[in-house]
């Protein structure tokens, strides 16, 4: 019976992919249990944490096996979550044997992300719209559009070089604040605060916060706490970045009170 091992590995790989792309814990545990049941494994246990998966099957039998995975906290990828969800659904309807499941898992993991130029453009567009929503004028929005594109470029460089989350968040919020001060120097009629608020939107930990609340709601207190700490630290990093640049700005000649 090599089968049990293979099924368990497949299941955990699916769980690992879901976890990396930011699905919430309850959904992963639920999906994994359903997959194992669909493949006729009755005696199993699955335990998922925000950065690890532990699973064992057929304990006490000859083909007993267990799998452990360590998964670092990753970025959210909604497309992959959705594709993996569809895969789980198909497995549970028994439309999908183990080999096809492996192939489809590979397909799910290789879903291409949009082109870099698109990402940069849409980040700018999003920042501009948020700047407008929070009460900025059209000029403010336009500035947020330009600065948002620069910010996304910087974020992509950070990802490529694999900087730590702290470095990434502090430096990108510093850049956001710095970019928002430039229009003031050239004496454009802008409200600087609205521009910054627009630009820092891609950094704000809204998604982590939501995931944390959902984990708490489903009773996964440990995972909820891990995500909550992540969200709080990100918020602190943003505040630190803003604070550093503004305090430097106020020391420079010509630096005035902003609000």
């Amino acid at each position: 019976m090599v089968k049990t091992k293979e099924i368990l590995t497949l299941t955990v790989e699916i769980g690992d992919a879901m976890l990396r792309n930011g699905a919430e814990i309850y959904r992963i545990e639920d999906s994994l249990a359903r997959i194992l049941k669909a493949y006729d494994i009755k005696n199993f246990d699955v335990y998922v944490l925000s950065n690890g998966i532990f699973a064992s099957a057929n304990e006490g039998l000859d083909d007993a096996c267990s799998v452990i995975r360590h998964t670092p906290l990753g970025d959210v990828n909604l497309g992959k979550i959705s594709a993996l969800n569809q895969l789980t659904r198909d497995i549970c309807c028994k439309n999908c044997d183990v080999e096809t499941a492996w192939k489809r898992l590979d397909e799910c993991l290789n879903i291409p992300s949009p082109k870099k130029s698109y990402l940069i453009f849409f980040c700018g567009l999003g920042c501009a719209c948020f700047g407008y929503l929070y009460g900025g004028s059209l000029i403010d929005s336009f500035m947020a559009f330009l600065a948002g594109m620069v910010l996304k470029w910087f974020l992509m460089v950070c990802e490529k070089r694999k900087y730590s989350r702290f470095t990434k968040n502090v430096f990108s919020s510093m850049i956001a604040t710095f970019l928002s001060l430039i229009p003031l120097y050239v004496n454009l009629p802008v409200s600087q605060d609205k521009i910054v608020i627009g630009i820092i939107m891609p950094l704000v930990p809204g998604m982590t916060f939501t995931t944390s609340i959902r984990d708490f709601y489903n009773g996964d207190y440990l995972c909820g706490a891990i995500h909550l700490i992540d969200a709080l630290l990100t918020a602190l990093c943003i505040a630190a970045g803003v604070g550093i640049v503004i305090s430097i700005y106020q020391q420079t000649p010509g630096g005035m009170s902003l609000l």
Partner: protein, 159 residues
């Protein structure tokens, strides 16, 4: 005039959320639904704050609950996880502005304003928590019924 303003707000919020959902690689067919549920959350918040002068905390709570319920409804109708609609939609309600102003007042040593903004940011965060909890408190069976109605209609038209 007011309605035009609401419409513009709705549209801008929709574009903002759609762009962010593209950033997080949402499936192409779902992007418009992400935008719709998120913009709905924002417009509820906006109308409550601007028109009815409700406190931003209560508004954030109601708006988040609306967003959550619509995300779950879309999840049932479109057969995708609710996460896809909920995560991008939450962005306009998250107190990003609060984080900025709190940091700003702390640096400029305006301690009264700092305490006020910091507390407000915290309260909005708590309101979002309760909004999401209320949204999820609606039993899944109720939403499943909605799904059944919708999918039946769809199969009828297909036949």
């Amino acid at each position: 005039m007011m309605i035009i303003n609401f419409f513009i707000q709705f549209l801008v919020a929709m574009i903002a959320i759609m762009s962010f959902s593209i950033l997080f690689n949402a499936p192409k067919k779902e992007v418009i639904f992400c935008g719709f549920s998120g913009a709905l959350g924002w417009i509820v918040y906006y109308i409550l704050v601007r028109n009815y002068k409700v406190s931003i905390i209560v508004s954030a709570l109601v708006a988040t609950a609306t967003l959550t319920i619509f995300s779950r409804a879309f999840a049932v109708i479109r057969m995708h996880p609710a996460t896809i609609y909920l995560l991008p939609g939450i962005f306009p309600l998250v107190p990003g502005a609060g984080i900025y102003y709190t940091a700003y007042y702390l640096i400029t040593k305006q301690h009264a304003l700092f305490a006020q903004k910091g507390l407000e940011t915290f309260e909005v965060a708590v309101a979002i928590v309760f909004g999401i909890i209320f949204g999820f408190a609606i039993p899944q069976t109720l939403l499943a019924k909605l799904g059944i109605i919708f999918h039946r209609k769809k199969t009828n038209t297909e036949n």
